[in-house]
């Protein structure tokens, strides 16, 4: 039955790649601002719902752009009116504020679109079979998008001055300011990347499955686990963490009741925090 496990692995890797997409945004925010942004999940959901709204007016492919742009605007508005005024406060204050924001935004979704399940209305298509492993086109798109986006961040962090500035800010905010890095630009960049990734991931998930108001929070908790696995503030760690969570929960279903699928990431969160709070994959410290 090795094909069965291979298939589970494949699905896990694809799911994990998308978790990584969310986790990278989360980890960037943590790296630079030092707080856990609970409202990240709502960016995921808003990205998808806004695409739904725009696709009623313009073709789907075109609808993605204004939707992502609006999601970015939401993120920047959050920063401007909530997170920036709280900058001097402790991480806990920001965490509670972000929980509040998450609640606010999620219920805003329900108000506008209702709690009903929505769908982009793509036809189901048979998956493609490679060496006995079936993958759907959407899954391939998800995986590719995740790889491209993550590659983009890697390049950004590695080769551009903006990216280096980001990493520097993650190392020491104070010194970054002293050496004359434009912190406004950095902050904006973090939110833009974080929101674009969240929204894109949300859209991909919605194409793959459906839209519903809780879609953000459900994926957020997985992303948390990925961030923690990888070590907070570490982009490669988030990728590895995302893949690990994806594979673990998919393979886990082969052995546990599927009812415990979510429990796997929660259990991982607790285990990592207790035994290696710096993250399992945080071989390399700092933002990379």
């Amino acid at each position: 039955m090795s094909g069965y496990y291979l298939q589970l692995m494949t699905n896990g890797i694809i799911a994990g790649a998308v978790y990584a997409l969310f986790a990278v945004g989360l980890t960037l925010v943590y790296g630079v601002f030092r707080f856990i942004n609970f409202a990240h999940g709502e960016l995921i959901a808003w990205g998808a719902y806004l695409t739904l709204a725009f696709s009623a007016l313009i073709p789907f492919g075109a609808a993605i752009f204004p939707a992502v742009a609006l999601t970015v605007l939401i993120a920047l508005t959050q920063e401007r009116y909530v997170y920036a005024p709280l900058r001097k406060k402790t991480g806990i204050t920001l965490l509670i504020a972000s929980i509040g924001l998450s609640y606010f935004l999620r219920n805003g979704l329900r108000l506008l679109w209702g709690s009903d399940l929505q769908s982009f209305g793509f036809e189901a298509a048979r998956g493609l079979v490679f060496f006995g492993i079936t993958v759907s086109r959407t899954q391939i798109a998800m995986f590719l998008a995740a790889v491209i986006f993550l590659g983009f961040v890697w390049g950004l962090l590695r080769f551009t001055m903006l990216g280096k500035g980001l990493r520097a800010a993650a190392d020491s905010l104070e010194l970054a300011e002293i050496v004359g890095i434009d912190m406004k630009k950095i902050r904006r960049a973090v939110w833009i990347i974080s929101a674009v990734f969240a929204a894109s991931g949300g859209i991909l998930i919605a194409i793959d499955t459906n839209l519903e108001p809780m879609m953000g929070i459900a994926n957020l908790l997985k992303a948390f686990a990925a961030v923690l696995l990888g070590g907070a503030g570490n982009v490669w760690g988030a990728l590895l963490g995302g893949l690990f969570i994806g594979i673990a929960e998919n393979l886990g279903v082969a052995f546990f009741s599927p009812g415990y699928k979510d429990a796997i990431s929660f259990a991982l969160i607790i285990a990592i925090l207790l035994f290696k709070p710096t993250g399992i994959f945080a071989i390399m410290k700092g933002m990379r």
């Binding site: 500035g165 190392d171 104070e174 970054a176 300011e177 050496v179 933002m287």
Partner: protein, 235 residues
């Protein structure tokens, strides 16, 4: 006058550490601020670079009143600060540290030239240029931090305790570098624990005590001033 500080009152969270401190510096010179712990030396530097906004007094730099302007703006005017403690980014590579440290410079060709110059001058940095800066020794870190001044060639470099915790050989080297930078046109303002060494290379020295100016004079004057020794060693 390159830098003039007038009657600065400043501190953290309501308590004023500086109580009316003044100083000034001519272009092209080296000055130092010395004094016992708690005298407010670091606070003075932080006021000058704009990290703390003073509750009273003014800071003039390059014929402009810069009181109230942002750190970034002052940095762009040519005020470069090398703080004490964390003064490099440990998770960036050495080369990236140089790039980020000199990111103020918009002319990239010039910047790359400056970075090249640094790498040539310090072979021990060149060999580790692709490694994370966190692996450098204390002295190497200090050199790397100071290199920002070599690349940027600012009007004024402010150094907070550049010799802190370094071995005697490294201390010598750091002071040599400070002089070299000065010779290439950058004025230097240091805060130093190593009073004799600092005074011996300074045109002018300021002794602070409890947030006030205590003694002011040329480096040589202060070196021979018995009061200075008393301040440190209680005479």
């Amino acid at each position: 006058m390159l830098l003039r500080v007038e009657a600065i009152t400043a501190g953290y969270g309501g308590t004023d550490i500086l109580q009316g401190v003044g100083m000034s510096q001519e272009g092209g010179t080296v000055s130092c601020v010395i004094g016992p712990n708690g005298a407010g030396k670091s606070t003075l530097l932080r006021v000058i670079v704009g990290q703390i906004s003073p509750s009273g007094g003014r800071v003039f730099f390059d014929r402009r009143d810069v009181t109230g302007t942002s750190m970034l703006e002052r940095a762009r005017m040519g005020l470069v600060f090398v703080p004490q403690g964390t003064n490099i980014f440990p998770n960036l590579t050495v080369l990236e540290n140089l790039e980020i440290g000199s990111s103020l410079m918009e002319n990239t060709a010039e910047r790359d030239k400056g970075i090249k110059e640094v790498l040539e001058r310090f072979p021990f940095i060149r060999v580790k240029r692709s490694r994370p800066a966190g692996i450098l020794s204390g002295g190497e870190r200090q050199i790397l931090a100071l290199s920002r001044i070599i690349v940027l060639k600012p009007l004024l470099g402010l150094l907070d305790e550049p010799s802190l915790g370094l071995s005697p050989i490294m201390v010598e080297m750091i002071f040599d570098e400070i002089l070299t930078m000065n010779r290439s046109g950058t004025s230097m303002l240091l805060v130093e624990q190593n009073a004799r060494k600092a005074l011996s290379i300074s045109h002018r020295g300021y002794v602070l005590e409890l947030g006030r100016n205590r003694i002011t004079g040329t480096g040589a004057e202060l070196l021979s001033n018995p009061e200075v020794k008393t301040l440190y060693l209680g005479g």
